[in-house]
Symmetry: C2
Subunit: 334 residues, 2 copies
């Protein structure tokens, strides 16, 4: 059985990687984190739940960690990456939609009229999302997203959006996985907008990516099955939608949850109610020089009630400026 021998080899390889990882870890599993309360809380927690025979030991199959994406794993200013994608898609699709020149909220996007766009409110944003995210097959949408991400750059950092990810969080993902955690994304972003890049960029496979979902419809087109994305939201994965979808997709309560905005509060509350030892953390964007500084007044990633609840519930609040040595990966890996 060649295939089993292959698995034996794979597992021997894992053993050697783990031995190597162990050697590195003894130096520092989180080299981009400054020594401080946040880093210590993380490493102490991992030590507690992985200590064999301890009453706080958590079996591997219950080591679920959930991460918000926008503002937690990658940059979300001056606007959510998915919103930048949406606006650029509207511009690209406009020639086929002459009516958009005089119809809101499309006209606002095409004429860079932020006042009119703001006036269109959440309902306006949903219309833009539906126009750009639905009415095609799942395969077609994945290709459109992949093509866009291959060249789209951040307006300030002039690097690909997929390189505007947070190096300290990449280390945290790897550190948790090296300790037997299964890492999930649980994001307000649309699920299929994330799946084309999360495996390569974060090491998170599509089946561990949970986000806002549109309804869909299976059909046969010219003999070939396809799934069409329908213009109606099935589930909004934000606020209370996060624990609801965690329960629906994973069916276990996480023991660790990471966010950065008020939309993550319920996910952290839910994780905090685990009878197992658990860890909750919010990234506070405090570094205007290296990234952005924002919280209570921000349109994107507003963090207001979260700071109050963090203080009450002893959630870890990362001070990006003080706690992180570096923000983005130095090597420009695609």
């Amino acid at each position: 059985m060649k295939s089993n021998l292959r698995l034996v080899k794979t597992n021997l390889l894992i053993v050697f990687i783990l031995i190597a990882a162990n050697a590195i870890a003894q130096n520092d599993p989180l080299p981009s984190w400054n020594d401080g309360a946040a880093k210590k809380a993380i490493t102490d927690f991992v030590a507690r739940v992985t200590k064999d025979g301890s009453p706080e030991f958590v079996p591997i199959n219950e080591r679920i960690a959930t991460f918000d994406n926008d503002g937690t794993l990658w940059n979300e200013q001056p606007m959510y990456v998915e919103l930048a994608f949406t606006f650029q898609q509207i511009a690209k699709m406009a020639p086929q939609h002459p009516e958009w020149q005089t119809t809101q909220p499309f006209a606002a996007v095409l004429h860079h009229d932020n006042k009119a766009l703001a006036a269109s409110g959440d309902a306006g944003i949903v219309k833009l999302f539906i126009a750009t995210h639905t009415g095609m097959t799942t395969d077609e949408f994945a290709r459109t997203v992949s093509d866009w991400l291959a060249t789209a750059e951040h307006p300030r950092f002039h690097r690909l959006y997929t390189q505007c990810i947070f190096q300290p969080m990449l280390e945290l993902l790897a550190y948790l996985r090296a300790n037997g955690f299964k890492t999930y994304i649980v994001s307000g972003g649309e699920q299929e907008f994330m799946r084309p890049f999360t495996e390569k960029v974060y090491g998170i496979p599509p089946e561990q990516v949970i986000g806002t979902q549109f309804k869909s419809q299976y059909k046969i087109n010219g003999g070939a099955p396809e799934i069409e994305r329908l213009p109606e939201v099935l589930s909004l994965d934000d606020g209370p939608g996060k624990p609801e979808n965690i329960e629906r997709f994973i069916g276990r309560k996480p023991i660790a949850a990471f966010g950065n905005s008020d939309g993550d509060i319920q996910m952290l509350e839910w994780t905090g109610s685990n009878t197992r030892p658990n860890l909750e953390l919010l990234v506070h964007h405090t570094d205007a020089d290296r990234e952005y500084a924002y919280d209570r007044q921000s349109t994107m990633g507003k963090l207001d009630k979260g700071l109050i609840e963090a203080a009450e519930k002893h959630w870890i609040v990362v001070n990006m400026k003080a706690d992180w040595k570096t923000i983005f990966p130095s090597a420009t890996v695609q």
Copy 2:
């Protein structure tokens, strides 16, 4: 780092288990399957997709296998196990609902009036499901299901329902996993009815169980977060709902799919459209002596169009009577 050393040990253990499994596999990975076309098609397929360097090799992260549950992994006659649960719950809850004595479809269940029950149709069944499956928290429902499964027995086989599982399919699940496959359940049954037992009984963890889903609502009750099950179906995981939910939950097309009824056709079609080598299989219940014989005329697990499509598309059709040496596990493991 104790935890990494622990993982090293775990992986060394996996290596030894795989070496042992390899030795057994060289004898026969599917001992409860008689030699024949079905068994050969399965083992040939696994050999092809796991052969390193072959053009048909499929990377481990794409080795997704999806299994229907009712009639594919466990018995579904004389009625779906979940329907038996539902009827018994109705009887148990009846004292608190005196109005059910005179209201359909509840009266039909309480008075064993199959004619009235049939007359209530699918809408009646949905009412029974809503009355027994919703209006409580996810934790409460999981406990109710676990308690019921701990003692509920099959009326003919006089063994626990969780022991009326198919031994050949248990071997198939283990064989695929030993070859790097990730095994999923994709069932018309309600998701949270399955999760309390699938990990122990099939080795399938809750995050790999996809089923019909009810809407839910996160809320804080006396300071504690909980998720309430709402009386409205979010997604029906049957027929076209199967590929729709596979795409939503897994985000990859399976390379192997296993079913037994017309409700599995679309899942098999979807899998068959994979550009990777792929395998589709239907279990045909042909053994009235050891289990049940049914197909085109059956109310539960009707298999009619599936047999036609199987012939056209060269899906494997398992003849239970001829292909399976044993039906249920001999040891009564709980």
